[in-house]
């Protein structure tokens, strides 16, 4: 269980680090990156929840949630980056 806890706590730290840079960083890219780090932190927590001891099969539900969450996160990131790029293009014009 200790190992799962360490993963989970790392996830918590990652999450808040991400939130922090989303709130504080000047660059939009850094903010988007921060969101991704936050997301990764949450997924890490989910994965650590799946672990149920060495002898037990893992809980498949958190794994599935992570997969779904990942796809959602990537989609959102892609949109944010596209917007960011378009805004920069407009500045160049």
């Amino acid at each position: 269980m200790t190992q799962a806890l360490i993963y989970a706590l790392t996830g918590a730290v990652l999450f808040m680090l991400g939130v922090r840079s989303t709130l504080l960083r000047d660059s939009l890219l850094a903010r988007i990156l921060g969101l991704n780090v936050s997301g990764a932190g949450i997924f890490l927590i989910f994965v650590s929840l799946a672990y149920r001891g060495d002898s037990m099969p893992t809980d498949p539900i958190p794994h599935a949630l992570v997969l779904t969450g990942l796809v959602v996160a990537i989609s959102a990131t892609a949109l944010a980056l596209a917007l960011n790029r378009r805004l920069r293009e407009m500045d160049d014009e």
């Binding site: 989970a8 999450f15 991400g18 939130v19 989303t22 709130l23 939009l28 903010r31 988007i32 969101l35 936050s38 997301g39 949450i42 927590i45 989910f46 929840l49 539900i61 958190p62 949630l65 779904t68 969450g69 959602v72 989609s75 959102a76 949109l79 944010a80 917007l83 960011n84 378009r86 805004l87 407009m90």
Partner: protein, 484 residues
């Protein structure tokens, strides 16, 4: 027969796919798809009125392992509001976007937005709610971009980043809930959750995330630019429906899942923020130089009113008294939904005819566009909270709850907010009814003016005189703790 519940989600989704495949017919598909979704919601409502709340276990799996869709009085009212507003806005958009090269994308995303809203109101599973929140947020952002201007893209990007932050906070809360209670099904959680660190931390994370999305002061700053710069029909649904979705979730969490966990102190904090939102939003609306910006600030203020209810609800024990207050909250949210969407559509008509929406130059609007001016006046009546609108009844009950609970603090807030709302609405009407040439020559009543006036009539007459139905529906609960 419970498969009925999937149709409000499946129909708009199916229509979205069709609109994507046949962009030439997208307008037709969009309006028809919205209409079909509305009829699905009407069928659902008939069944709820007849036999109470409904549950659909998707895939036939027991809720918990699988995902359940549920509808009760609260979600039904939200569904009805969103599908009715959506119908009117769709008819309006069929004119608004008729010449736009973006109309193909508009209709697909429009239908996806309806899908997301309906899915959110129906969902009975926390993680599924996260997915619907993201779908709602992304489709709303993309719709807000359709204007294409730099200001709108920038506002949309900020909206997206903050929205994502909000959803992630929500998801973190979901993770902690799953860690602590081992299920994501909301009915089961309603029974299982009890006061403790897990509940507190999860609730604050989820609430915090949703507060960003519902633009409660001081997390509101993304809303005015995003709502003011989007195309008019999009602003209408953003202000009327999308922010309400987050509010709906907060209500679900506070009143059903975390009932008993919520402390009066935390509710007071939210109430105070709501109070500041009322005052600040109304003041900013009074200062606004542009019609749509004024409407957007007014949304900030109106959302503040809705949050004023939280400390009041927390102070009343579950039962008839609380249902009374909850009904008033819902009625206020519904009235604002209809009135604000009507307002934005009318603003869109003015912008298209006049080429601008500077309030000081709107003289002559009433003569050139009498129906639209009438719409703004009716919607304004509802926004101020004057009779015979639904918000008058809601404010009456809000004041009544203030007296019953003895939370006098809110009395001056409500009073000043009402007067400020009167000031900004009548400032606008003064300009609109003044003589002038700001809007150009008189034109006949357009197809796009009718949906707006209908929405405004719903807000001011229907919800005023038939509001008793709201209070009848609200107590129907699918999550009613022990008895369920």
């Amino acid at each position: 027969m419970n498969n009925l519940l999937i149709w409000p989600v499946a129909l708009p989704l199916l229509s979205a796919l069709l609109a994507l495949l046949w962009p030439r017919r997208s307008t037709w598909i969009g309006v028809a798809g919205t209409g079909l979704s509305l009829s699905a919601v009407l069928l659902v409502s008939r069944q709820v009125v007849e036999s109470g709340s409904i549950e659909l276990a998707l895939g036939g799996w027991a809720p918990g392992l699988g995902i359940a869709l549920r509808v009760d009085g609260l979600s039904l009212l939200m569904l009805l509001m969103s599908s009715l507003v959506a119908m009117a806005v769709a008819v309006y958009s069929s004119v608004y976007f008729s010449d736009s090269e973006r109309r193909g994308e508009f209709w697909v995303l429009w239908l996806l937005l309806i899908t997301a809203l309906h899915a959110l109101f129906l969902s009975g599973d926390l993680f599924n709610l996260y997915v619907t929140l993201e779908l709602l947020g992304l489709s709303a952002v993309v719709l807000a971009c359709l204007g294409g201007s730099r200001a709108s893209l920038q506002a949309a990007l900020r909206y997206l980043v903050l929205g994502l932050l909000g959803s992630l906070a929500f998801l973190m809360g979901v993770a902690l809930i799953y860690a602590g209670y081992g299920t994501l099904d909301m009915a089961a959680l309603g029974d299982a959750i009890e006061a403790g660190p897990t509940a507190w931390v999860a609730l604050s994370l989820m609430t915090g995330g949703l507060l960003i999305k519902s633009a409660l002061f001081p997390l509101h700053f993304w809303l005015p630019p995003a709502h003011a710069n989007a195309p008019a029909p999009v602003s209408a649904v953003l202000s009327a429906l999308v922010v309400k979705a987050a509010l709906y979730l907060i209500l679900r969490l506070w009143l059903e899942l975390f009932d008993g966990v919520v402390t009066q102190a935390s509710a007071m904090i939210i109430g105070v923020l709501g109070a500041v939102a009322v005052l600040w939003g109304s003041w900013a609306a009074l200062q606004a130089q542009r019609l749509k910006l004024m409407a957007a600030y007014s949304t900030v203020a109106q959302l503040g009113y809705l949050f004023l209810f939280l400390p009041l609800l927390a102070a009343i024990p579950e039962g008839e008294g609380r249902d009374l207050a909850l009904g008033a909250l819902v009625l206020l949210a519904l009235t604002h939904g209809f009135a604000k969407s009507a307002f934005f559509l009318a603003a869109g008509v003015i912008m298209q005819r006049a080429g601008h929406d500077r309030i000081a130059e709107l003289g002559g609007t009433a003569r050139a566009l009498p129906v639209t001016a009438f719409t703004i006046a009716l919607a304004g009546v509802a926004l101020i909270g004057l009779p015979p609108s639904g918000s008058f009844l809601a404010k009456w009950q809000l004041l009544s709850t203030v007296f019953v609970t003895g939370q006098w603090l809110w009395l001056p807030v409500i009073a000043v907010g009402t007067l400020l709302a009167g000031a900004y609405i009548f400032r606008l009407l003064g300009h609109a009814f003044a003589p002038g040439e700001g809007v150009g020559p008189s034109l006949s009543v357009g197809r796009e003016e009718i949906p707006a006036v209908l929405l405004a009539l719903i807000a001011t007459l229907l919800l005023g005189f038939w509001a008793a139905e709201v209070w009848e529906l609200v107590p129907i609960s699918a999550y009613a703790g022990g008895e369920a």
